[in-house]
Amino acid sequence: MRVEQGVIHRECGVLKTTYEADMGLYPLPIARWTVAAVAVLFFAVIPLTLHEYFLSVANLVWIAVIGALGLNILVGYTGQVSIGHGAFMSVGAYTAANLANRLGSPWPVNLVAGGLMAALIGAIVGIPSLRIKGLYLAIATLAGQLIIEWTINHVTFISGGVQASIEVARPRLGPMVLDSQRDMYYFLLVFVVLAIIGTMNLMRTRVGRAFIAIRDHDIAAEIIGINIFRYKLLAFAISSFYAGMTGVLYTYFLGIANYEQFQIGVSIDYLAMIIIGGLGSVLGSIFGAIFVTLLPIVIRYTMEAFGGVFFAQQTVLNLIPNLRLMMFGALIIFFLIVEPEGLNRLWRNIRSYFRVWPFAY
């Protein structure tokens, strides 16, 4: 691979001469350095300096990132709308919880098994996508969500009793029990990295290109020889695999699988994440997950800091949650009006503006 030597060198045109360079994960040396810096930040600086509370928030973000990446593969890259993501998570969660409690299998096995089971169920729920598209498909996956919810709720073999919740022991790494938020931070971060690298590479393969072709025009894709049947179901399976993993990680994070944690509202939240973040982009999924998880918290902190200036304490308590909901909604609308293609596009616009700064045309 031919790579320019400069560290802060930036390209100012399309200068690539080989396919390898064009497909490279790091188009520029600076990208490599950025990734290294981000890795140091997230693997060393943040976990070693911040209070456990902030790490617990980061952990919630990590779980959301993996789930959002999975949903973006299906909705953003393949163009198949799904409102069943929460249910696929619950499939993974209950598979892992049952395996852990009935067979005592270790967490890596449960993690993969939960992912695979969700992939299988996801592929089955995805079958209607072969005949219907868009809103119609959304309703079909909604049915999937409700059927899975109902099944877990009523079949005690899966749910482990009428309470539909199964306690799971903390994951172990040799002699170490991963129970503090700091342990969980590293545990989850490893899978976040794997999920990000996995998605980025997936989209550079034949499979990823087939997904994009189906999204852009399915008939054209079929004509150029893409097996729609196989690739649509594959998209559902891969997306659900991510969802299943998310469910398993969530289960280990909380120490319990409980079906009320995966209800339809969760599916909607994940859709919101990828729409706000940007459909069909890895960075967008990450931005969206961060935005939807952190924004309510940031708004609350801001209001706690300034709310007491204007109102009495009891009023603030009642005002904060309601105002937070309103501001959350308003900010989503604001960002989508500023950039309908999501935060990822916004970020790219800012970047390309500064790329030539201060010498804009």
Binding site: N153, G161, L254, Y259, Y301, T302, A305, L317, P321
Partner: protein, 417 residues
């Protein structure tokens, strides 16, 4: 391009405020922190918008009288919209702020936090929701239901029906209409056991979420099954719908007894008012009405500040439950501070404090609970109130029933694990 700079600045400002706001919540000396989770905006907001202000009112009352053993209390509240991730975040935030007890709110939330509470050794309460098996203090050392669980409520309901039907249930027909979720199904096993024991015929009727459509079930109960009595266990708007439906098919409401989440003024108002619901029986884990000394003190406190008593006080069922929850937390802290007068208490001390609560009744608003290291429920006491002449009228005093059967189920559930 200018707007991008504006947004970037806004984001930086927002992050900045996050960092600067953080220390303002740090625990100051001489204060005992209670973490309160709340749902003022989510699906159960009719409960939260009354219950949480009541919690703060009681804490303010205690502080206005000099606090607990010389220490002021501080109740930090976070609204989680009945969602799990915000509940996890608020738990960690309260832990960081030094909370020694936590008032958790919501069944999925107490499930999600059970492991953390136990690992971090901070007692969390789940009055009127959560798992009935959590009454077992040995198995769940840091979970405190502190009110009758659904198993105890089921047992109490059967006992109440028995008395209403003349002392024997042999050959009687009882219908159990429930919200079709884990909480709704939880009491069935206890009621089924009692059906065998007392010789009554039990039929269960599931109402699918969101619980607004139950015409067929109610018609079946009234005209096909012809139940002698109905036990209802519904949530949210469903209890109101059930009252309306029973009224519509002409089934007498004096043959219906509801669990605690179908028992508030809001549920009756939703059905069209007290005149419509005349005769309806409602189970309570806190006293109902405005006639308690502690409520008078809260009104006095507001009057002294030159303010009207809050409008939430009119919704007495939820308000009084909020006072009950706050009062039990305060008692646990009081017991902990008595044991450690230097004020350096942790969750371990408040856990022991909860387990010392006994015969603390707050003038009748709180049942005479007896919480112990093995029994975190405190006896499973309830009262039955009836809708009569435009208000709730007390029908029974605090009672618990079939505690042997409930204990058997708690034991079995522990053995299964």
């Amino acid at each position: 391009m200018r707007e991008f700079l504006a947004i970037a600045t806004a984001l930086i400002l927002a992050t900045g405020s996050l960092l600067t706001a953080a220390p303002s919540h740090a625990q100051s000396r001489g204060e005992i922190v209670i973490g309160v989770q709340c749902d003022r905006t989510g699906p159960t907001q009719i409960v939260g918008t009354v219950l949480c202000p009541a919690f703060h009112d009681y804490v303010a009352l205690v502080n206005s009288k000099g606090g607990v053993e010389g220490f002021k209390l501080k109740a930090l509240e976070i609204d989680h919209e009945y969602k799990v991730p915000p509940a996890v975040e608020s738990y960690e935030r309260h832990k960081k702020d030094g909370a020694v007890t936590m008032a958790i709110y919501g069944t999925p939330q107490i499930y999600a936090l059970a492991a953390k509470l136990t690992e971090d050794r901070i007692p969390g309460t789940s009055p009127g929701f959560g798992s009935a098996a959590a009454a077992d203090g040995v198995r769940y050392p840091y979970i405190f239901p502190i009110a009758a669980t659904y198993w105890s409520q089921g047992a109490a309901a059967v006992d109440f029906v028995k008395k209403q039907l003349g002392g024997s249930l042999k050959g009687k027909k009882i219908a159990y209409i429930f919200y079709d979720n884990p909480a709704g199904r939880e009491p069935i096993e206890v009621i089924e056991d009692l059906a065998t024991k007392e010789g009554f015929q039990l039929k269960t009727f599931a109402v699918p979420p969101p619980g607004v459509e139950m015409g067929a079930q109610v018609l079946d109960i009234a005209q096909r099954f012809r139940a002698d009595f109905v036990i209802g266990h519904l949530f949210g708007g469903a209890p109101s719908v059930s009252i309306k439906e029973f009224k519509r098919v002409g089934y007498p409401l004096r043959k219906v007894v509801s669990f605690v989440w179908g028992a508030a003024e809001a549920n009756i108002d939703g059905a069209g008012g007290f005149a419509v619901a005349e005769g309806y029986f409602a189970m309570q884990f806190a006293g109902v009405g405005t006639d308690y000394p502690v409520l008078n003190e809260i009104r006095e406190m507001y009057k002294k500040q030159g303010k009207e008593p809050p409008k939430e006080m009119a919704s007495t069922v939820f308000y009084n439950r909020g006072v009950l929850i706050a009062a039990l937390h305060v008692e646990a802290i009081r017991n902990a501070l008595k044991a450690k007068p230097d004020g350096k208490i942790t969750g371990v001390d408040t856990k022991a404090g909860f387990e010392k609560i006994s015969n603390f009744t707050l003038g009748g608003l709180v049942p005479p609970l007896k919480i112990s290291p093995t029994d975190h429920e405190g006896g499973g006491l309830v009262q039955i109130w009836q809708v009569k002449d435009g208000k709730f009228v007390k029908v029974t005093d605090w009672f618990a029933a079939y505690q042997d059967v409930v204990a058997k189920h708690i034991k079995e559930s522990g053995a299964k694990k």
